[in-house]
């Protein structure tokens, strides 16, 4: 009994000895929509034995539930725990934009322009707790400029200026070199093969949406393929997984047939919707390959787990296959299972490569130049970090 009392006394003494955190301040969290508060305090000395901090705030309540709480009138039980952070953290961002009204309102909500009160306390080993700090107050504001995204703006503007410059140069007649891309060079050959064999061509636009850049780039290649199939009068099948994509594909193919002077060959039924679900779509496309015995398969756009399922089925039927995607995890599958693969950016370069239009080639050169710049910065960054050990370049790239 005596031992227990002594232990309890020692624990109480330890709890009383744990000093309250010092230097607590609260301010609007920068670069947010207006529902965040940034709390900062001074690090406790190691000798204090602090292991973590508990962050408390006065809850939000809708107007019909009463006036906002103030530290002077709020009972101790009114304060709510919003988070616990272990040492060595000396800051905490409290963010909650989910407003719920009625009886089931969200007390953790931080209203834009509303005043929020905080206090914190330190936690020691066992159940040791310090006293609370005096309450601090802050108001959350929405920001009109994200200060950590200026680097993106600089690169985008630089790219824009270079694009305009190279488009001008290209229009003035300057010859801008684009390296050969085997996957694009073989398009005509692949279409010719299907024509000779008298078998259809399959064009898969992936399982992305019409809003994906890779899907939009795939339409450029579809337009080219459709133009050739119109000239050769080869059947072109385009199964799609989204109605919007189907309508876009029909418009693209129809325009290509018109351009080729063969509008009568165009059949909208060859561009059809199957399913928005990944595997039913794969099953239908694979069945299409086996039944129609397609001679050439194109896989262009966004692909996920279905990439290999499609490409292997095509390989079994002996089709010549050309693929292109910007999804890095799927690229090895396409490289292994198809004859030619457009890797990442090559898919986007297709329009410039195929059309050789100055307006399209110019931006490609600008992109290459920025890429070279990034490479130089990366090398300089590695050298700087290795030799000097400073983080100047990395801070420049990723501002804090």
């Amino acid at each position: 009994m005596l031992v227990l009392v002594l232990l309890l006394g020692a624990a109480l003494a330890a709890a009383q000895e744990l000093p309250a955190p010092r230097g607590l301040s609260a301010r609007d969290n920068p670069n947010d929509a207006g529902h965040g508060i940034l709390l900062e305090w001074k690090a406790a000395p190691e000798t204090d034995g602090v292991v973590a901090y508990e962050i408390y705030r006065l809850p939000w309540r809708p107007a019909e539930e009463g006036a906002p709480w103030t530290p002077a009138q709020a009972p101790d039980s009114a304060w709510i725990l919003t988070g616990t952070v272990p040492i060595p953290a000396t800051s905490y961002v409290d963010m909650d934009d989910e407003v719920r009204l009625g009886a089931n309102y969200n007390p953790g909500y931080i209203p834009r322009g509303g005043v929020v009160h905080y206090r914190i306390r330190a936690m020691g080993p066992g159940d040791a707790l310090s006293a609370f700090t005096p309450p601090v107050t802050a108001t959350a504001h929405g920001d009109w400029w994200h200060t950590q995204r200026w680097n993106v703006l600089v690169i985008a503007l630089l790219l824009g200026v270079l694009m305009v410059y190279f488009i001008r140069r290209s229009k003035e007649g300057a010859e801008l070199y684009i390296r050969p891309i085997p996957g694009l060079q073989r398009i005509d050959e692949a279409i010719g093969r299907a024509t000779e064999m008298g078998r259809p061509i399959l064009f898969v636009l992936g399982t992305g949406t019409a809003g994906d850049v890779a899907t939009l780039a795939a339409y450029t290649i579809l337009a080219r393929v459709a133009e050739r199939t119109a000239e050769y009068q080869t059947k072109l099948l385009v199964p799609v997984n989204e109605p919007v994509m189907m309508v876009m594909a029909q418009a693209t193919v129809k325009e290509a047939y018109l351009k080729a002077g063969r509008p009568e060959v165009y059949n909208p039924d060859n561009i059809f919707y199957i399913s928005a679900m990944q595997f039913p779509y794969v099953a239908a496309v694979n069945a299409l390959m086996l039944r129609e015995k397609t001679a050439t398969n194109f896989y262009m756009g966004v692909f996920h787990a279905e990439s290999l399922l499609l490409a292997e089925a095509g390989s079994v039927t002996g089709s010549i296959q050309i693929s292109g995607t910007d999804r890095v995890p799927q690229i090895p599958f396409f490289v292994a299972a198809t004859d030619y693969t457009l890797i990442g950016e090559e898919l986007y370069a297709a329009s410039a490569y195929l059309a050789q239009d100055p307006k399209l080639v110019g931006p490609l050169k600008a992109q290459d130049l920025v890429k070279a710049g990034i490479l130089i910065v990366a090398i300089l960054g590695v050298l700087e970090a290795t030799i000097l050990g400073s983080g100047f370049i990395s801070n420049l790239i990723e501002p804090h």
């Binding site: 009109w144 994200h146 189907m246 039924d269 059809f272 919707y273 399913s275 931006p363």
Partner: protein, 208 residues
């Protein structure tokens, strides 16, 4: 006019979204959500076009080829059953409803079966990819062999050496290649998007 208006709309919407990226304010967030809701609305409005296309193709296939009739009938039957099963909210909201049972005990196993075929496809694709016909293919074969060795029990200290070497392969040369592709993709996407915004790239509209 028929082409100018869509290009102008693309420019306007695209520019708004570009500006939105740099403005973290609540109003900007609301605008973003609103634009996303529009995408969903457009998708829903286009759905009848997709259903019509699916039904038309299924019926045409059945009329053209007698061997296809059973599959076409199943497609139409499945489509109608799911529509009827989901006509009322209470019919599909419960976990024991016909709609849920069809989904959980027909569609999900069918999808899992198809997905499981990936294991066999990986094996056959790997067999073709790993044939050492060129120097690069031989390097790929050796690297893959070393990486796969990590998954089998090896005696010490070979296991530790192999684990370290594999970690280096994955974190240094492999990661470098992945990041190089990603940088290219990011720049390519920005350039392509800019071309779309400026109306230079128009193939997706059915015109170039």
């Amino acid at each position: 006019m028929k082409r100018q208006v869509p290009i102008f709309l693309v420019f306007l919407c695209g520019l708004t979204m570009v500006i939105q990226f740099f403005v973290p304010h609540d109003y900007s967030d609301v605008l973003f959500q609103y634009a996303n809701d529009f995408v969903i609305v457009i998708g829903i409005l286009a759905l009848p076009v997709g259903i019509y296309s699916l039904m038309k193709n299924t019926v045409n296939k059945a009329m053209r080829d007698p061997k296809e009739r059973i599959f076409s009938a199943l497609t139409i039957l499945g489509f109608l059953v799911m529509i009827v099963a989901g006509l009322k909210r209470e019919w599909f909201a419960s976990s024991t409803s016909l709609s849920s049972n069809m989904f959980n005990y027909v569609l999900v196993p069918a999808q899992a079966t198809l997905f499981s075929m990936l294991a066999f496809y990986i094996a056959s694709a790997a067999y073709r990819a790993f044939r050492a016909r060129t120097v690069l293919a031989a390097v790929l074969l050796v690297t893959a062999f070393v990486v796969m060795l990590r998954l089998i029990p090896l005696p010490e200290p070979v296991a530790t050496w192999n684990a370290e070497f594999v970690r280096w392969i994955l974190e240094v040369p492999n990661m470098a290649a992945k990041r190089a592709i990603l940088i290219g993709v990011a720049l390519g996407a920005i350039t392509y998007s800019t071309k779309i915004l400026l109306g230079i790239e128009r193939a997706y509209m059915g015109t170039d």
